[in-house]
């Protein structure tokens, strides 16, 4: 039986006069490093972008040092062994784009899953199986290529739906679901295809539509394939969707804390299903890009075995947190490009394949350590 009524407890009488300052002060003595940290902290995909630009410039300087000297007048053409730009030319730079197209698109699918605090070990296997389906449906059953591609896309989406259902409804950890799915899909791929390759020449002659993503656009020495353009467009569309639509906000919320998201009114099941299905669809789209790039349909494509690790590497170097809910999808694209630049750059500077492999390992740890340093600020 409180007598104080709506005026509150007796000791609260002075509250009306309370002021509302909080213990928030401006930085006192912050140097350039701190400002940089802050800037990078608020723009997560800037870090991989800067790494990308720096590593491109670094490799360019290293590889093209002689022609640069010539161009700058520091050396005469006769004095150097090579006066031609090898790295800094539109052919090489667009070649990197072509080489990362497959991993880049897979990394987009992987990013979606990782944003929901999942991980998908089956991305590469789904891509390979779907490429086999697109090819075999056309050649084995004589289905029109366009329809076969559609069937492939639907099939990839369906695999994604199965994984999504197991994750969201049966509540199995995504690592396990996709570990199992990886083996299942890859084995199904070999069993269904009987390891038969469909040759590039045959596809070109009978079903060129399958190779559509390999269609080339030349601008001077630069060569862009439709696959590369699709990768870039897809990345931008997804970046828009994740940032500016309700669905995107829900994906981040689910990755951050699924229980909180559910209680806050997000349909977690629907969001997860949409993400896994979309990721499956993107993997199936990768299948089409693969056919475009290789010309042929090969069930033993390496992507089936290591595409998952490649995609995860790109995502991680792109600064997207494996714990979900944090990161920008453009980062994954930059991550894939960084790996591409390193691989080609190292190969061009004469590192042999084994050293390249080792240095990529160092790159992974280094990139994430830098990212961690940047994130330390203000958390």
């Amino acid at each position: 039986m409180s007598e104080s009524g709506s005026k509150g407890q007796d000791y609260e009488a002075s509250l009306a006069a309370a002021d509302s300052k909080v213990a928030e002060f401006d930085d006192e003595q912050r140097g350039f490093v701190h400002r940089l940290q802050h800037f990078l902290h608020s723009n997560p995909s800037m870090v991989p972008l800067i790494v990308l630009v720096l590593s491109t410039i670094g490799f360019g300087l290293w590889i093209d040092w002689e022609p640069i000297q010539v161009r700058m007048g520091w050396a005469a053409l006769e004095d150097v062994s090579n006066g031609r730009f090898r790295f800094f030319n539109s052919f090489t730079l667009t070649l990197i784009l072509q080489q990362v197209a497959i991993v880049g698109v897979l990394a987009l699918a992987q990013t979606l899953i990782i944003l929901t605090a999942g991980i998908d070990l089956s991305v590469g296997a789904i891509a390979v199986l779907c490429s086999v389906i697109m090819g075999q449906f056309t050649f084995r059953y004589g289905i029109p290529p366009f329809v076969s591609v559609m069937i492939g896309l639907v099939f990839g989406t369906a695999i994604g739906a199965v994984s999504g259902w197991l994750v969201s409804r049966v509540k199995l950890p995504p690592f396990i679901v996709t570990l199992g799915m990886w083996q299942i899909v890859l084995a199904a791929n070999y069993l269904y295809s009987a390891n038969e390759t469909i040759r590039s020449q045959d596809i070109e002659a009978q079903a060129p539509f399958l190779q559509l993503m390999g269609y080339k656009m030349k601008l001077g020495g630069a060569t862009l394939t439709l696959g590369v353009v699709s990768m870039l467009v897809l990345a931008l569309v997804l970046a828009y969707a994740l940032r500016s639509t309700a669905w995107g906000r829900h994906v981040y919320a689910v990755g951050d804390d699924p229980e909180a998201a559910e209680l806050a009114g997000v349909n977690v099941h629907r969001t997860l299903m949409s993400v896994y299905m979309l990721a499956g669809l993107i993997c199936a789209f990768t299948a089409w890009v693969m056919i475009g790039r290789f010309g042929s349909v090969s069930p033993s494509a390496t992507t089936g075995v290591i595409g998952n690790i490649q995609a995860i590497t790109a995502v991680v170097i792109g600064g997207i947190s494996l714990f979900g809910g944090r990161g920008s999808i453009l980062g994954a694209l930059f991550g894939a490009l960084i790996v591409g630049v390193f691989e080609l750059g190292l190969r061009m500077s004469g590192a042999d394949p084994q050293w390249t492999f080792l240095l990529i390992g160092v790159l992974i740890i280094g990139a994430v350590a830098v990212d961690q340093w940047i994130r330390k600020v203000s958390v």
Partner: protein, 260 residues
């Protein structure tokens, strides 16, 4: 009493393994009232309000809204009917901004083509509204409506959650220990907000361990004990001491304490 309860639970049962958190529990909330729910730790208060707000599907029993039987399978169902809840855990996404969190699940799209076809969100509008709501709560100390919730203090977070519920609840607002982590000043703001909401005609369920607060603002007090409703008392007819005695099992409630 012939009024229909606006929100009602009948015979609710919820078991967690060996623990029966709700044991054939009844619950009624009448239009326009502030109903306090009090009880020992672990008595099942949070489970009760989860059951009537869709966050938990009870093993047995029924929930009625405006006298109509409803089956909430998720908090979204309840929200669509106008029931807003601040859960004890707050239900915030730490990495997202205050505005994102306030509009989670009911985002506002841009007008025209961008919104209809490209489904673009109207961030500016959402931020403006979020700022207004927080100002009402006296939380203008939050400088940047875009800052991530994880950078807020526990008290500020609780404030944002309460502001969200107050802004969107059209039928019932449920608050589970909204002032547990709050300081004196901040708690007072929340109590004022509750009375403000009540004056808009929206009934409120308030779970709290703070007896002075409960007796200050509640119209009726639901005393929960061992997973069920022990009795409902009128704060004007009983003392805090009585309430504490009933809730802790130190005294038996008189039979006439259960109205309705």
């Amino acid at each position: 009493m012939e009024r229909t309860p606006i929100l009602q639970g009948k015979n609710l049962v919820k078991r967690y393994g060996k623990v029966t958190a709700l044991d054939h529990c009844d619950f009624e909330l009448y239009p326009g009232e502030i109903l306090a729910v009090i009880g020992d730790n672990g008595a099942g208060k949070s489970t009760l309000i989860k059951a009537v707000s869709g966050a938990v599907v009870p093993d047995e029993g029924e929930v009625f809204l405006d006298g109509q039987r409803v089956d909430f399978n998720s908090p979204i169902d309840a929200r669509e009917k106008g029931i807003e809840t601040v859960y004890q855990t707050l239900a915030m996404s730490p990495a997202l901004s205050i505005a994102d969190n306030m509009f989670m699940g009911r985002e506002i799209r841009k007008k025209g083509l961008m919104g209809k076809v490209f489904r673009q969100l109207d961030k500016a509008e959402m931020e403006r509204l979020a700022r207004d709501k927080l100002n009402d709560l006296g939380l203008m100390t939050i400088q940047n409506i875009r800052q991530a919730v994880e950078t807020l203090s526990g008290g500020q977070r609780q404030g944002v959650a309460v502001a969200r519920a107050a802004a969107f609840g059209s039928k019932v607002i449920i608050l589970d220990e909204p002032t547990a982590a709050l300081g004196v000043k901040e708690s007072r703001k929340v109590l004022e907000l509750i009375q403000d909401v009540k004056s808009r005609g929206i009934p409120i369920v308030l779970i709290s361990h703070n007896m002075p607060h409960v007796f200050e603002i509640a119209d009726r007090i639901h005393i929960h004990r061992l997973g069920k409703r022990l009795c409902v008392i009128d704060p004007k007819a009983f003392s805090m001491n009585d309430a504490v005695a009933f809730m802790t099992g130190a005294a038996e409630p008189p039979p006439e304490t259960i109205p309705a």
